[in-house]
């Protein structure tokens, strides 16, 4: 109690401490943003009015009008589905005796919708290839007990694979998976025979997925209605019985102090028992015994309640034994939560993982018989986030633990037998483990895990040999796409590395009509073989035979695409990855532009890669005005100029803002283009080196003439467009602007939906060539690329699929 009081008092004092660092937003910013969203609100109102007029039934796409992602027809279908589900639910409730939880009958999945075709406006587009990519990093791996299925999961959702084919997923479920508390909120768990996958979705509750039929099976969610507020249970612990007959899961009424544990027969879907723990219990996790006759229920950090079935049923379950943890858990170490719970194969002992230790309890008398110090990493991290998995060998003599290390222990002596050093979690040790996952197949002959490079690998744990490697989901969040100058390759830069894609037979993309990436493209540089920590810049050489990649430590490498060898170009050997904030290079890789950070200052320098000469372009103290260097930074196509866009600085150093252009040979400042006071988002040189095209945060595009310093052409934003992206074809003839227009009133040409896509312009005349609105939508910030002659457009759609389109 003293500790708790201390925490509260300290927090009160701290509020005053932190208050001095809270900032008041600039009034101009606050007003400007307010105006922006007010205009949006006005449009929203128009939409609402129009929607009300259009649909007198009361129900329609009010939401759909506001949100471009919602479509009225789909809403109606959803409603119809909801009504059907409700009827099914009522029928089930009537038919199911003593059913305390809501169990929804098996549902069928909707057929995948064919991609609608796009008729275009002025231009004619044909979808050629769709690439599954950029799903986001996999953070969890689960292997089904039968060894047949591998589930890869992460923020992107869940992908199920046949364990012997990691190329094509069996099913994909767009449910974001994150581990909150590994024991209680187990995100995924296969049933013992591998036929069902229990999925805990914080938004929907717990449901079962039929792996064989690829349909949703039971939904084990219930709702509580209080004061007209319906609350779905948001917190469940659960476990399958090893004999596959039952699933036990927690049912907690958020308004009451008592959780319940329900037992459901998986064959019938009927409830077959309920256990009512003592008041104020908090279910921290549960585990069936190997013979399926007992269930160990963790009650907070206080005790483990052992339930026993009667003749294989769980009717009126009672706790037959309570193992107190008061003497085990060190209450001084408040973070020593129990994170793992397992029976030994013989079922005579129970292992509990708490904090850094594993304690074994004799189930006959409840006493602690062995303790293993399982984690010795000194790094202080939240231990409740460890994936503390315990796997016993069949004879129970050995225990494999998965945490920051993968280790094997003797369960009789507590001696550490070995450590799987080949599964080292990298130099970040325990920190990285939060992002990693490991799973064994049933006979321990294979281990699947995620490398720090976000590659899913299956290895032989004895030899370390890589048996399989999955790369369809290894692409992290893609933040850049580029076509090679010759148009034969596509480069993607993501959080996991740099990938070069090329057509499988060396032909042009448009010769391929397949929608399957594996038939059309393959990663030229396999994931994992070339990895840069947070690569943030990459570019093709002018002849398309090499790629230069830079990372935040100031290292540059040139990778040959012909023999896949790499050579270092530059290594600033900066210990702090944040020290380099931008790096770019001339096309032939002879110059690198580097911004380094010093205390209260920054320096902008040109490094001559071959000679080692360094030219300082600008050195500024942060005290003198707000430096706010903005990306992008670009070299002119001839390499003679380098331009950096500075954000408006106020009020002290007004000379700073604008686009600064330097001569790369002398380091002299050639000109400063005032242009705009807005935040410049992207810019590009025209091929003749005479003009810089910029887009700003508010969607305005400007052509800055370097000779006159004037703006030759302005493409204003229209209708709240937030066109932030800018790409030019290699030949400089076509300009693609990313557009995002907010929803329009119903009856407008866009039918009440927002417009998200691309406008294409002729750079010589400034004439608009046309607008392309992908039917699947595209996020306004998604990366995109134009090829050399502007005939191909690549972008990441809202489903994080990479789409390639030919522009005719």
């Amino acid at each position: 109690m003293n500790d708790q009081r201390d925490i509260n008092e300290t927090n009160d004092l701290d509020t005053a401490f932190f208050a001095q660092f809270q900032q008041t937003p600039r009034s101009e910013f606050a007003q400007s943003l307010h105006e922006t969203i007010k205009q949006e609100a006005k449009q929203v109102e128009q939409i609402l009015n129009a929607e009300k007029t259009e649909d007198a039934t009361g129900f329609n796409g009010i939401k759909s009008g506001l949100n471009p992602n919602h479509r009225p027809r789909e809403m109606r279908l959803t409603l119809a589905a909801a009504i059907l589900a409700l009827i099914a639910l009522l029928v089930l409730l009537l038919l199911t005796p003593r059913n305390n939880s809501t169990i929804v009958a098996p549902e069928t999945t909707a057929e995948p919708q064919p991609h609608p075709t796009h008729d275009g406006t002025t231009l004619n587009y044909n979808r050629r290839i769709e690439i599954e990519a950029g799903k986001g990093p996999v953070t969890q791996v689960y292997w089904s007990p039968d060894g047949q299925t591998l589930a890869l999961a992460g923020e992107f959702g869940i992908a199920l694979y046949a364990a012997d084919d990691l190329m094509t997923p069996l099913a994909e479920l767009p449910i974001p998976i994150r581990v909150i508390q590994p024991l209680k909120h187990l995100p995924l768990q296969f049933s013992p025979d591998g036929s069902l996958l229990a999925i805990y979705d914080p938004a929907q509750g717990l449901f079962l997925w039929d792996v064989r039929r690829n349909v949703r099976s039971y939904t084990l969610t219930f709702e509580v209605k209080r004061d007209s507020v319906t609350i779905t249970n948001a917190s469940v612990a659960y476990d399958f019985s090893p004999d596959g007959r039952f699933i036990a899961f927690e049912r907690s009424d958020l308004f009451s102090s008592t959780p319940y544990i329900d037992f459901v027969d998986l064959q019938t879907g009927h409830s077959v028992g309920t256990f009512t723990p003592p008041p104020y219990s908090w279910i921290g996790g549960m585990k069936f015994s190997p013979d399926s006759q007992q269930l160990a229920v963790l009650n907070g950090n206080r005790s483990v309640m052992m339930l026993k079935s009667t003749d294989g049923l769980w009717t009126d379950s009672q706790a037959v034994r309570v193992i107190s943890l008061e003497a085990v858990i060190d209450w001084e170490q408040r973070s020593d939560f129990v994170t793992g719970l397992a029976f030994t194969p013989a079922g005579d002992r129970l292992a509990l993982w708490f904090g850094r230790n594993i304690a074994f309890f004799d189930l006959d008398n409840g006493s602690e018989v062995l303790r293993i110090a399982a984690i010795d990493n000194p790094i202080s991290i939240p231990r409740d986030r460890f994936p503390t998995e315990m796997i016993f060998s069949a004879d129970g003599k050995r225990l494999t633990t998965l945490s920051d290390r993968v280790r094997e222990w003797d369960t009789q002596t507590g001696e550490r037998l070995r450590e799987f050093t080949e599964l080292s979690m990298g130099r970040y040790g325990a920190v990285l483990v939060l992002q990693l996952a490991v799973a064994f197949n049933p006979d321990f002959s294979q281990i699947a895990y995620i490398t720090p490079e976000h590659v899913v690998q299956i290895r032989d744990p004895q030899t370390g040999e890589i048996l399989a490697q999955q790369d369809a989901y290894t692409l992290g969040e893609i933040h850049d796409l580029q076509f090679s100058p010759d148009g034969s390759r596509l480069l993607s830069v993501d959080t996991g590395g740099v990938h070069i894609w090329k057509s499988r037979d060396g032909g042009q993309f448009e010769q391929h009509l397949s929608s399957d990436l594996s038939n059309v493209m393959r990663p030229l540089i396999p994931p994992g073989t070339f990895y840069w920590e947070n690569p943030f810049n990459a570019a093709f050489s002018p002849d398309s035979t090499a790629v230069t990649v830079a990372n935040e430590r100031g290292q540059m490498q040139r990778i040959s695409l012909t023999d896949q060898t790499s050579e270092p170009l530059l290594d600033l050997a900066l210990p702090d990855p944040d020290a380099v904030s931008l790096i770019a290079w001339k096309p032939e890789n002879s110059l690198a532009l580097v911004r380094t950070e010093k205390p209260n200052a920054f320096v902008l320098q040109l490094h001559h890669v071959e000679t080692g000469e360094v030219l300082t372009l600008r050195e500024m103290g942060a005290v003198h005005g707000e430096t706010r260097v903005r990306t992008p930074e670009i070299f002119s196509p001839d390499g003679r100029l380098v331009a950096v866009a500075f954000k408006r600085s106020e009020p002290i150093d007004e000379l700073v803002w604008g686009i600064h252009v330097w001569d790369t040979a002398t380091g002299e400042l050639i000109t400063t283009l005032p242009g705009t006071q807005d935040n410049i988002r992207e810019m590009a040189f025209t091929p003749d080196n005479q003009t810089i095209i910029t887009t700003n945060f508010y969607g305005t595009t400007r052509f800055h003439n370097l000779k006159t310093g004037l703006i030759d052409l302005t493409i204003p934003y229209a209708n709240m467009t937030q066109g932030m992206g800018l790409r030019m074809s290699g030949d400089g003839r076509v300009l693609a602007l990313q557009i995002a227009e907010y929803p329009q009133p119903v009856g407008s040409p866009t039918g009440g939906r927002g417009v998200y896509g691309f406008d294409l312009y002729d750079t010589r005349s400034g004439a608009k060539l046309g607008r392309f609105v992908p039917s699947d939508g595209v996020d306004p910030f998604s990366p995109f690329a134009l090829n050399h002659d502007g005939s191909m457009l690549a972008f990441l759609n809202q489903s994080r699929q990479l789409e390639l389109w030919s522009v005719q």
Binding site: Q4, D6, I7, N8, T10, N11, T15, F17, F18, F21, Q22, Q23, T24, P25, R26, F29, A30, L33, H34, I37, K38, E40, A41, V44, L48, I62, K63, L66, N67, H70, R178, I180, Q181, H185, R334, S335, I381, P382, E477, H479, N534, F536, E552, S581, R595, F602, A622, E626, T627, R628, V629, R630, T631, P632, E633, K647, N679, Q722, Y742, F781
Partner: protein, 171 residues
């Protein structure tokens, strides 16, 4: 869902915007970037107004959910968009002596340097608590950490932060 449209969005903006802005300041330690991310958050939120369901929680919690996604997107995105620490802004019309303002500037930089050393998760919780001024309960719901754990985490982080602050201030 109809209740969603009875929200006074105008008032909500003025009430929540400074808190969202400060959340980003604490997260990224940079005013310009915090402005950008705040703008993205509100534009996204206003675009999805109909998704806000008042029965599921307060508008601040809803906005914070969007803000955290924006922050996550930002940290996943291309690094160069992270601008340099731009120092403290002297409020326009600030009549205090220059020395005091400069001291505030130095203090702010020192504070942000300490914040930058925190692990991402701890910095996030400090930003939610003292930037967005959320309660421990709200932070627990947003982050999935238990409420008591939030209190414990904050207690430890802040104790460490303030100890470092005291040491540096006396150096």
């Amino acid at each position: 869902m109809g209740e969603a449209h009875e929200i006074d969005w105008d008032a909500a903006y003025w009430e929540t915007m400074p808190r969202i802005y400060n959340y980003f300041c604490f997260r990224v330690g940079n005013h310009a970037l915090a402005e950008d991310l705040t703008a993205v958050t509100f534009v996204k939120a206003w675009r999805a107004q109909a998704d806000f369901d008042p029965t599921r929680g307060a508008i601040m919690a809803w906005l914070m959910g969007i803000a955290r996604n924006v922050a996550a997107d930002h940290f996943r995105a291309k690094h160069p968009t992270v601008a340099l620490d731009d120092g403290v802004r002297l409020p326009i019309g600030d009549m205090r002596p220059v020395e005091e303002a400069l001291q505030r500037s130095a203090d702010y930089e020192q504070f942000m340097a300490l914040m930058a050393e925190l692990p991402a998760r701890e910095r996030e919780i400090v930003a939610l608590k003292y930037g967005a001024e959320l309660t421990n309960r709200a932070i627990a719901i947003l982050t999935g950490v238990s409420e008591s754990n939030v209190g414990t985490l904050l207690h430890r982080v802040v104790r460490r932060l303030r100890a470092a602050w005291e040491v540096q201030s006396h150096e």
